[in-house]
Symmetry: D2
Subunit: 358 residues, 4 copies
């Protein structure tokens, strides 16, 4: 099994390697009648490469998405939507010892242990470029959710020791700086920190926050397909994520029940909660509050320092990685967290339609 | 959909409510030929109620498991293993206003929003008792893994502000105290803290740690069925979990690549890592190191203080929960984390057999 | 994988062997709010043993079904419904050489080739008794469909050379004779034929017909989950079925398009068809006509003549089967075809709710 | 749900419409290390248009397949294989009343009932062209099976009243005539019959036979994923199939057990059967004999006679279909039956690796 598909009724299957002919996804089970075009999807893909030239890979790929099926006269037809992004900047390249050497922090060794060999060009299937297919597929899910009044947004909430200050939260700022941070001061500080790291040939971890608003109560299945369980799979399936938190996350360990329980009350005739420690999910089912998700990304494993490692022949070797690599993953990954969240919620929202007999 | 099944080829489906006739699970796809009996499974179930009488629900249920099918002459046959645990202590009981009132921190409101009504007796399907079926099913997975040389253990690493000290880690101590803590001093401290909380009619959060040893490299599928993605779903599917961490977890946000990358080296002719920040998983595939998992459990939501909430009729009401409830979830949940981990790894280990043509 | 579950959102998982503790099923994803009790399900199970004493196994099993979960105050709750039928007539029995000898026409050899050994008591998991769990699960699906105005019926349309005459079709007769035949004259003829066969220690094949009325158009997914594809899997999953036909079935080979195409016309403002060669399915999607299914059952493989076969040690041996076996499968299998059809349609009907964005 | 994927571990997802940008498939879970190139897959696609110019659609599509991912240095990598066939002969065309009129025998009405509208160009997703993706995907499965010593072949065994004579069976003849018939005399007769039908603006049904040799015993799961159940789904998922038969098929209804049971015996130390009425499958598990499958295809529904039908506005109308349509489906569908069989067996063969603990 290769596990390249996710979702039960709204299902995305991705394909493609970093340096093959292209990457893409097939979205199967998108409901019929949703307005859709390539431009809409492109806006999500474009967010995978935020403007910060100094800090993200300058590989000149346009990453133009094509819709190959499933859309007719501007609307989804209910049949599979095939999405393709050609790899335009492939060049015959010398991968040198990367074909046989296991980069620390990368999946190289695991792939060889798994399959006996691997497509070593640019990380192959384990490259961050694999997320292009997810983002294109998730954009379609996000559109469906918007038509249901559900909106998802995401941003970088921390880069190394630099944390955004909730007091300075400014939505417009997210698209305004190179780091997708909603806090201009933190972004400025992060820039200084990253310049220093790059001088030191090093990289840093980061944290992405994602919020879902307009969420109805009752979504998520009670046992193994809990809303948070499905989000857990979806977010951990993004390379480099080492922690996923819902609501107060790890903070609940020290909390007391009297603090952590969100009191219910009535507002304008509707059941609401006075606080949202739960992050919008109780017992795996949405409680009507905003869904709050945090993902911790490890530092970019490709660093330019010389590293100790081994090769396929079982020899210990020194490795020097060349090329261009972002020193931090979060800024380009925020839209990936957002679209994986969209895919997850779209699926569970549709499944909820099957739970009552009427 | 009700989502009561998990796993692709090693699949567990659970059923049952807190106060119905019983609870159970069907394990479909367990390989043939594994020694199995009720006593073995019972040892896992017994761990759901650690000795600490003062701190866990004294409801007198023997929770005796019966194997109804799939085992013949002491070995699994490859056909579905049906497991049943009868609810013996049911009594006609007055649920009072719990039938119509939404307990804060519980799934009551979500269930009503989802299905229009709910089995309100003891939380019904959202009760912690639902995990009995998981534990019984996961015990079978654990046995299969042991025959492959893979061992899983789990313990409580923190209760509220009390953390176990790695310096004092003692495996034998885990089964020795009421809190499943591998550190006797921390357990003593936790006991004092919990007595105080109970006096204050309050509860606390906790952290469970789970470690998998003997894990071969190459397990886990590269994209959506990454080993950590599957673990993410499995652990978040346990009620009250609000964060899941792999390896360094949230600690990676502040880390540098040069620290976080685990150098590969050769030891006795095998590829090993000098450190294990990755928690045994790189790019979603096991790297041969121990798998390290942490789960953050929120405080028990059933507290004895009066709480503000609403009822089904849209009225704001005061709620007083009676009965007996553990003031902390971790000690009884450690074995649940362990068995959910076993189910996840058993499935991916079997799937790995399908990835090469030979 | 053991493949004991079927269905995407309305999913049944069966368990149990002929001579184990019992048999059962877990129905996961049945919508909430459907009236349900054990008596209703029992009426389906009772049809597995039609009155004809002379012609069906007299094993005295009451086959009483118990609902263990998922029903509260007489209605389904949306959570898994666990169904159990205890095996009451187990006795320590001498299986003689059946433990090591491969019965012709049975799965014994396949099971040993598959798993290395098998539960040989009464055929274990490959026994016809396995269908008890399906029938109980399918009864629940049938109830859900009835609430949607969809009704399913089934009968035996042929036993060996004896065919029911459509001119003499009488619904009431189906429950009236030992063979579930809607034609009293054919039933009388079948009885004579079967008596002769039994004297000759032989058995015969049979055909079951199943009809679904009240079916809305638009159900069934266009490619691999076509309504007929799903029915094909469901009906072929019943042991002893060697052919499945929809509408005109094998008759289409000799037909012309001008005959086989059903003209559409308008009746009372609705689109209907003037004929129903399609059996209610076009392009895998229901066309609003009645669904017509036929299943060909092979002769009972357990016959009392001495047969040539081999044993586990690779020796050629003579086999004499003893005990009691029906000389024809169809009469007890009709309700199995009906309930497998119900499970299939319930699942696809619910899935159809996910196909439009509104 | 759109149900465009099939298989558990060897999974194919198809996409594309008759007149969109192209068609294709993603094969996920193909084991690593299988030699693969576009030429090999092309040989299967080429068989979808047998030479018989007079009898098959002359639409000039090259149907050239491209491998976009999952193959590296001539071998499958274990990651998803994306296959694409561009639609090269699209032209802006006048579909006239086909956009609003429901063709008898087609899925037009079902699609509108399902989704509210449809891509009416050339049948959209319900076009026979959809099978191009299946054939490309199935070619990969066939290659994997060949490496396991399993070979699949298929042919047309009947066209209307013309049946191939088993006495004249000649494998080489299959590729030699326009009808994929292994009997030159029958092919000549079929040609005469078809010419007559075309003069009469009519079409005919046909039968395809498929045989799998080299099949090991033990493949297929005992209950819902029986080998024949999975084949039933796979073959019925091909448009226009109205019956699927395994082994003796509908012939079993009249058979006696003493005839139908295949005696086991020992040959060269191996368990074999003296006959093969079972078609290689007993109790859903392969018995080591050749798998025998027959599929009945209905007559091509697109005929040139004027037909009675209705339109979307609920009016009764006369319909005249123009363009070019094969008068018989079988000759182009034989390779589709073969590749769907390959996909099914590849999946179950891999799953069988997960059934024993060793």
């Amino acid at each position: 099994m290769a596990g390249s598909g996710i979702g039960t009724v709204f299902r995305a299957t991705t394909w493609g390697e970093s340096h093959g002919a292209g990457l893409g996804a097939v979205v199967d089970g998108c409901p019929a009648g949703i307005p859709m075009d390539e431009e809409y999807i492109q806006t999500f893909l474009d967010r995978r490469k935020p403007g910060g030239r100094a800090f993200s890979t300058p590989r000149k790929e346009d990453d133009r998405v094509r819709i190959l099926s499933g859309v007719f006269e501007g609307k989804t037809t209910g049949t599979p939507i095939s999405l393709m992004i050609e790899n335009t900047s492939q060049r015959s390249q010398d991968y040198g010892n990367l074909a046989t050497t296991y980069r620390p922090g990368h999946a190289d060794f695991g792939f060889d242990a798994k399959y006996g060999f691997r497509d070593y060009r640019g990380g192959g299937r384990s490259s961050g470029r694999e997320t292009a297919g997810r983002v294109a597929a998730g954009a379609i899910a996000a559109k469906f959710l918007e038509m249901q009044g559900i909106h998802i947004s995401s941003w970088v909430s921390a880069i190394g020791p630099v944390k955004c200050d909730p007091e300075r939260f400014d939505t417009d700022e997210i698209m305004n700086n190179a780091f997708c941070m909603p806090d201009a001061a933190a972004a400025a500080e992060a820039e200084i920190y990253l310049r220093k790291l790059m001088e030191e040939k090093d990289s840093t971890g980061s944290e992405v926050t994602c919020v879902v608003t307009g969420m109805p109560a009752g979504v998520g299945e009670p046992v193994f397909d809990k809303l948070d369980a499905r989000l857990g799979q979806a977010i951990f399936s993004i390379g480099a994520v080492k922690a996923v938190e819902i609501g107060d996350g790890t903070g609940v360990v020290k909390a007391r029940g009297s603090e952590n329980n969100d009191p219910f009350r009535i507002q304008n005739g509707r059941v609401v909660k006075s606080s949202n420690h739960s992050g919008g999910i109780l017992g795996g089912i949405s409680d009507g509050g905003d869904i709050l998700i945090r993902a911790s990304f490890k530092p970019t494993p490709s660093i330019f320092r010389e590293q100790q490692t081994v090769n396929k022949d079982g020899e210990e070797v020194e490795l020097s990685i060349k090329g261009r690599h972002d020193p931090v993953i979060g800024p380009r990954a925020a839209v990936v967290v957002e679209t994986m969240t969209a895919l997850t919620i779209a699926d569970l929202l549709l499944l909820q339609r099957t739970n009552r007999w009427e």
